[in-house]
Amino acid sequence: MTFSLLHATDFADRLLYNIVPPLKAGMIVLADRYAYTAFARDAARGVDRRWVRELYSFAVKPDIAVYFRVPIEVSTDRLMARRVKLKFYEAGLDMGWSNNAIESFRIFQGKVLDEYDRLVEEFGLSVVNAVGSITEQQRTFRKLISQHLEIEDTDEQLDEQLA
């Protein structure tokens, strides 16, 4: 509960100082994770789903929300390849499901992914297959955004940027 509420406090602070003012000024806000992360993570920790949704009812609904989906094996492999030391809470070690960080990460993030699948339906998140290469993902991502913003998007642009 305290984990969930502390994150909500942080979110409220950022919403009022960093998100709402640029929106009022007509700017685009790119949010790396949003309330959906809390919905998924808190529910995976056993917090009441409806309660978390109502807790975040003060949040502004994003114009577009994109979910980069990977199977659990891919995300574990990526983290292992980078030899990242798993963070205590990220691995869900607070839940006491396993003393092994990798094992615990698999169990916990598996539950988180299940929650995300629910969210995709409930909130109509756009899904990008994040198994592919960064270029492929960026292409799909740009298509989604440009459709939404009704701006021109050409593959040449991306090729130039990456060249």
């Binding site: 920790r45 309660w51 109502e54 009812s57 949040a59 609904k61």
Partner: protein, 250 residues
């Protein structure tokens, strides 16, 4: 701007003392815990802490295990709250959420374990203080009630009621007016006295409006300490005798 989710307020459920107000904390079922929560509510200067000290002594002499818990006293949150108050960056939402986090910490680490072990929890202020403070700051009522849906309904809530005039004199006599207790964050005016008066007046209105909804037992706090204490003991004694009888026949 639309809000992210449409909150759908439930029809007001009947409050069951010792149970969660709302859906509660799914991973912490509390059914059938033998302890009791007794909350003492009221604004500043009504003598809550004096009454709680006297009650504790009286209950312990009778053989009850007692713990005290109070607003913003959680180990996790107290330093953060102090820091945030000092930094002047708090807004009404983060203020409310920090309080709720403090309460959640005390609920999980102090209150629920004590209830499980059959203790009496004397709570110096409860969620109603948070609701009153949020109410005067214009935070949505339904949202607040949902937020505290994880709280446990106390077995008894005493509201030490005082009038504005007596309250002002008592606070001035003791330790004076401070920034937050005067609602200076609400920018009602530069004059701390006027701000304090206006703020405390709206707080009193908020408490009164909750009395029926949450079943407050209202006590006149202008009376002598001993008179109030006698009244508290009489009502608590009757409640405990009744619940002890219920458990021994069960």
């Amino acid at each position: 701007m639309n809000s992210l989710t449409n909150s759908s307020p439930d029809a007001q459920n009947t409050i069951r003392p010792g149970n969660y107000y709302g859906n509660g904390i799914p991973y912490l079922p509390i059914d059938g815990y033998p302890g009791k929560i007794i909350a003492i509510e009221g604004t500043d200067g009504v003598g809550r802490s004096t009454q709680i000290r006297l009650l504790r002594e009286w209950l312990e002499i009778q053989g009850y295990g007692v713990i005290e818990t109070g607003w913003t006293r959680s180990e996790l949150m107290q330093p953060t709250i102090e820091l945030a108050k000092a930094s002047n960056t708090l807004n009404k939402l983060t203020f409310v959420l920090l309080y709720a986090t403090d309460f959640a910490d005390r609920l999980e680490k102090e209150i629920i374990p004590a209830l499980k072990a059959g203790f009496i929890v004397l709570s110096d202020r409860y969620i109603f203080t948070a609701m009153a403070r949020a109410g005067v700051r214009g935070v949505d009522r339904t949202w607040m009630r949902n937020l505290y849906g994880f709280a446990i309904a106390p077995h008894l809530v005493f509201y030490l009621k005082i009038d504005e005039k007596t309250l002002i004199r008592r606070v001035l006599q003791s330790r004076g007016m401070d920034f937050w207790e005067s609602g200076m964050d609400m920018k009602l005016g530069d004059d701390i006295y006027e701000s304090f008066r206006a703020y405390q007046r709206s707080l009193l209105r908020e408490y009164t409006s909750m009395a029926d909804e949450f079943g407050f037992r209202v006590l006149d706090a202008r009376r002598k300490v001993e008179v109030i204490q006698d009244e508290l003991r009489r009502q608590i004694g009757a409640f405990l005798a009744e619940s002890d009888a219920a458990t021994s026949t069960a």
